[in-house]
Amino acid sequence: MKHMTEEELIAYREGVAAQRAVVAQHLAACEECRAELERIEAVLAALDTLPVPNPGDDYGRHVWQQIASRLPERPARWWQAWFEPQRLGALAAVTALLVVAFIAGRITKHDHPGNDVATKEQIRERILVVAVGDHLSKSEMFLVELSNAQPNSSPGKLVNISAEQRRAEDLLEENRLYRQTALQEGDKVMASTLDELERFLLDVANSPDVVTSAQLEKIRQKIEARGILFKVRVVGRELQERQKATKPAPAQNDSTKIERNKA
């Protein structure tokens, strides 16, 4: 008889098993699996005895007293969310890039009076190329440093990765913004690469501050197994090419993007 895996038994116990009836049927017939489930349940039952303090019957009123004076007169409307400090920061960065692109455009136009005037789309694309290119270079550096971090130590040795976590968190914020933009622009390859990068950054940001060498090795293996560094490099180089190409003949960009998406 094929026994249930630990994963299947935990999923069954936690009510997230895909085929609950099948597991229940097997458990009814298999003493070994029942014993294994009981061992899992014993650990969970012990954890259930951990106390949660009772904050008191009037806790709700206490919370209200604590926060009432800090609440604005009215809740913000949905559009006011755009003026939150975090978003304002991102907005300021994009605006700064726009201004730079605009000034650069003006200068270029004066130098070559015969050239066509760049369209809004081309300017927007140029900004995206520059900004994402910069983000990918930073991410590449981060991945390389993480891949090369202290390879020769015993598996149980503890490593502090809090600095890497902070960098991952910073990169995450930017990454989300660029991934959404790439999706809106229809750049599937870029969006998919940024999506994979985001998942990895999330993993690092959510790891404990201190990990064992073995856990760090697993993180490194993830970079290799998913080919994240390679993909980031490829898209990064491609962006550099696009950056060069946008200057003399920006009209070619769309076709490049379509070709890449086809591939």
Binding site: I10, R39, V43, L50, V52, W64, P75, A76, N206
Partner: protein
Amino acid sequence: MIRMQPSVENTQTIADSDAVAVERTMAGDRDAFRVLVERHSHNVFRLAYRMTRNRPDAEEVVQEAFLRAYQKLGKFEARANFGTWVYRIAANYAIDRMRQRKKEEARKVEPAVHEEGMENDPVTLVRDAAPNPERLAHNIELRKQMEIALAALSYSERTAFVMRHWEGCAIEEIAQVLKSSSGAAKNTVFRAVQKLRLALQPFVGKGMQARATGTES
């Protein structure tokens, strides 16, 4: 498993009443928000305490969750459930708080000793049931190990475990908090239980032996 799940009818009534309170808050009635705070504070505290494992942090999480909920109320979809929504905000903030706390504090090997909630403490329960010194010592050790095992989980694992095992949240809800897919959230629950089991199985086994000895004597 300690799950505080209200009945389906009750849930629906609360959700309807919450929707009205949200609407009134949006129209400028601050007292309506007070109703929401008083109604959901206990549940949010329970989640926050289980995640942060200390009372001051849990209380801060509760207050911050309601403040953020109020500020973001304009983005809250009327069809959604306010209780679930504020829960999610609290879970997200609890993760931030745990991360912040870890950075603030120098590494402490010893877990915090909690004085509150002694009425449910396994140690005191055991003391009442049978004053067997061996069993008492075991329970103290077990509790210490449980705190260590929970603290050793990553933030995502602890969040997933607390939300699924103790709070009975749906996998989709956990996935939203962890900003991952449902499959990944499910795996995180599994990983958490597996790690807890690995860390605690030897002590739980010992407990069975201690119980057996207690019964014989």
